[in-house]
């Protein structure tokens, strides 16, 4: 993210704080940008930059949250290294340090370290005591003035969520700016960390909120969500609802998109005089790209629900519940968040894996993430399930067969991820030291609707813009190759048909003809391309005046249920995403790892798909 333009900013301000202190929400409020926020420690995994709305000549730099300037995790190392280099930057004029006013001691030790290091570099610090609205709501208070006096540093009570005190932050920045030469006053400049730890403890006791009403509320909910029985049950129910909702909640919106596209095509295509332009609009634009646009509502719903779980604070509980089972597969409870993020998209999942402090478990998590059923697989799954699984329900409409099939294929992907990491963790030599599990459980919060909708919208937009360019290009090429040299008269004799015959022997053992072979081949750029390519191929082949849904084309093709299942399994395992491979290489600092994973997952995908096809052939 960047708010930089052609004018060089006059100054920079650092925004730093403990994990889950509301720093990213504050960054968004001060800059008007839309950095992802969530109620889970470590959501900021990269440095965000934006311009202050109230002071446009000033850049605000958002650092990943860290508990201390003595880094343990890779994510903390990023924050600490950036912070230390930023303190030497002459353009950095001051530092805003965010603390969680509801849990003062945890934040104060880090704050004292920040004040000490800033004083050594002649930078002014302003402490922002966030979540003051939560204290107000529970009739609790923070002695802001006494704390400021003890720290010899301005302390401002704010609420990034409600906006309370935000104007005072801008005023304080301007005040610091004109305050003249900086003279250290806190006497912390030579204090070692041991002294700071003791000081933080004393200050929190003396000036922090008294009473434990917040913790008691949290404990009551935890006694349900972390209970041996109800915790496990609620986890499975929540995960099941997540996958059911992808079908049920998104279905009306998907139908609406399909209806709009169909109506538009019916209204537009008959008026196009030129046959070439007419065929292109019908086959490439509406059948190809249109087939992909139908799935946007599902991406939106999926991102919305994952955001809901993150913002409510449940995700940290899910990490705890999963820790022991994941440990069996060489992973940690902290792997759960990157893996579930990978259900939306592998890329944020890979970034989120930085928060895993154990290098070995981080590496194993990298291996599991590409097997998580990401949103790019969703259009393929939806298409194949709609083509082969009946749409009926059972148990009085409580269980939909298609939703159950979706749950099954998602579960299969996750299981593959776990089996791979379990196998690799047992076979590989232990080059790394495993690190123990410690996780802060954030308070439960009612998620804000606006950030959730904004994040889901951004994700859907990103899905369209990222995949859309590739899909448009591939669709164009596929249509061109499929339309010429015989102007769509015989797809089999087209250039695409000839290429398809080359690819066909590779996919024939799965019962797939050349059309599916070409679609799989193009999907190695990005999985979603499969749907667009298939839509274009069937569009050229069908040459109907009215749009026919792709599902009907597949149902009327010669594809058997065994091939459909084999295709589902192939897509569940194969690593068909150029962007994921690039990010994986960058984050793991190893191109060889991503290439090995690409090759291994292709072989595994092909082998499993072949086994499924053969099994289905025996059973049917």
């Amino acid at each position: 993210m960047s708010g930089s333009g052609s004018v060089r900013p006059m100054s920079k301000i650092i925004l730093i704080g403990s994990p889950n202190s509301g720093k990213s929400l504050l960054f968004n409020r001060l800059t008007g940008l839309a950095q992802k926020v969530a109620n889970f420690p470590g959501i900021t995994v990269d440095v965000g930059v934006g311009r202050l709305q109230a002071l446009p000549g000033t850049e605000l730099i958002d650092f990943p949250g860290t508990y201390s300037l003595q880094a343990i995790s890779a994510e903390e190392k990023v924050a600490v290294e950036y912070f230390e280099s930023a303190l030497d930057d002459l353009q950095v004029e001051q530092v805003l340090c965010v603390i969680d006013a509801t849990r003062l001691e945890k934040s104060l030790y880090f704050t004292l370290q920040v004040i000490r290091d800033c004083e050594r570099h002649g930078k002014r610090v302003t402490v922002l005591a966030n979540m003051i609205d939560v204290l107000d709501a529970h009739n609790l208070s923070l002695d802001v003035e006494a704390l400021a006096a003890a720290l010899h540093t301005p302390v401002l009570p704010i609420s990034a969520r409600s906006g309370k005190g935000i104007e005072a932050v801008t005023r304080q920045i301007e005040k610091n700016r004109v305050a003249g030469a900086f003279v250290p006053r806190s006497h912390l400049i030579d204090s070692p960390d041991e002294i700071l730890r003791g000081t933080a403890h004393q200050l929190a006791r003396r000036y922090g909120p008294k009473g434990d009403v917040l913790v008691k509320t949290q404990t009551r909910l935890d006694s349900f969500f972390l209970h041996s029985f109800t915790g496990g049950m609620s986890f499975f129910v929540i995960m099941y609802l997540l996958f059911q909702s992808i079908f049920t909640w998104a279905a009306p919106a998907m139908d609406a998109v399909e209806w709009v596209l169909g109506t538009l095509a019916d209204a537009l295509i008959p008026h196009i005089g030129n046959q070439l332009a007419k065929d292109f609009t019908a086959d490439a634009l509406f059948s190809g790209i249109g087939a992909f646009l139908v799935f946007i509502p599902q991406i939106f719903v999926l991102t919305f629900i994952i955001g809901l779980l993150e913002d409510s604070g449940y995700m940290a509980r899910a990490a705890l519940i999963c820790h022991k089972p994941l440990r069996l597969f060489g992973l940690t409870g902290k792997s759960f968040i990157p893996m579930l993020s990978g259900v939306a998209c592998a890329i944020p999942g890979i970034y989120a894996a930085r928060a895993i402090d154990s290098p070995r478990k981080r590496l194993l998590t990298y291996m599991a993430i590409p097997l998580m059923p990401c949103s790019a697989r969703l259009p393929v799954y939806t298409l194949l399930i709609a083509a082969f699984i009946p749409s009926g329900t059972a148990l009085g409409g409580l269980v939909g067969w298609q939703g159950l099939a979706m749950f099954g294929i998602y579960f299969f992907g996750m299981l593959c991820g776990l089996l791979v990491t379990g196998l690799v963790s047992r076979l590989s030599e232990d080059h790394f030291t495993d690190l123990p599990f410690v996780l802060e459980l954030p308070p439960y919060r009612v998620p804000g609707l606006q950030p959730l909708l904004r994040n889901s919208w951004n994700r859907a937009k990103h899905f369209v813009t990222k995949a859309g360019k590739i899909i448009f290009t591939v669709t164009l090429v596929v249509w061109f190759l499929g339309y010429f040299p015989n102007y769509g008269a015989d797809l089999g004799a087209s250039w695409l048909g000839q290429i398809g015959r080359v690819v066909e022997p590779l996919f024939a053992p799965l019962g797939l003809d050349w059309r599916y072979g070409v679609a799989i081949f193009t999907s190695f750029l990005a999985r979603e391309v499969f749907v667009g390519t298939l839509g274009t191929i069937f569009g050229i082949e069908g040459a109907e005046e009215n749009m026919v849904p792709l599902v009907q084309h597949i149902q009327s093709s010669d594809m058997t249920i065994g091939s459909g299942l084999a295709l589902l399994v192939f897509f569940a395992i194969a690593l068909q995403c150029v962007s994921t491979l690039a990010i994986l290489s960058k984050e793991s600092d190893s191109t060889s790892l991503s290439l090995k994973m690409f090759g291994a997952y292709f072989l595994l995908a092909y082998g499993c798909a072949f086994a499924v096809y053969q099994l289905a052939a025996v059973l049917t």
Binding site: R103, E105, G208, T219, D222, S223, H227, K324, V438, L439
Partner: protein
């Protein structure tokens, strides 16, 4: 009675006595940053089945620690538990 943090059951309260020598310095320091100081009172809030990480309250913050860490923290049960 001296025990480890991991041995606590849900509802138990204790006072931290110190740490095992086997615990690496960086984890000892991180635990202290979280508020697990010697002399500090800690409550075990949840002790889930099947060896899942336990949930502890220290000061106004709640943490989850697994056996690899909590078994290195030496504690004394508070009088109310004995």
């Amino acid at each position: 009675m001296n025990r480890t943090l991991w041995s606590l059951n849900a509802g138990d309260r204790c006072e931290i006595l110190g740490y095992d020598d086997a615990l690496a310095d960086k984890y000892r320091i991180r635990l202290m940053e979280f508020g697990f100081h010697p002399g500090e009172s800690v409550a075990c809030l949840q002790s889930p089945a099947f060896g899942a990480p336990k949930v502890y309250r220290v000061s106004n913050t709640i943490f989850s620690l697994d056996d690899e860490l909590a078994s290195h923290v030496r504690v004394r049960l508070s009088a109310a538990n004995e």
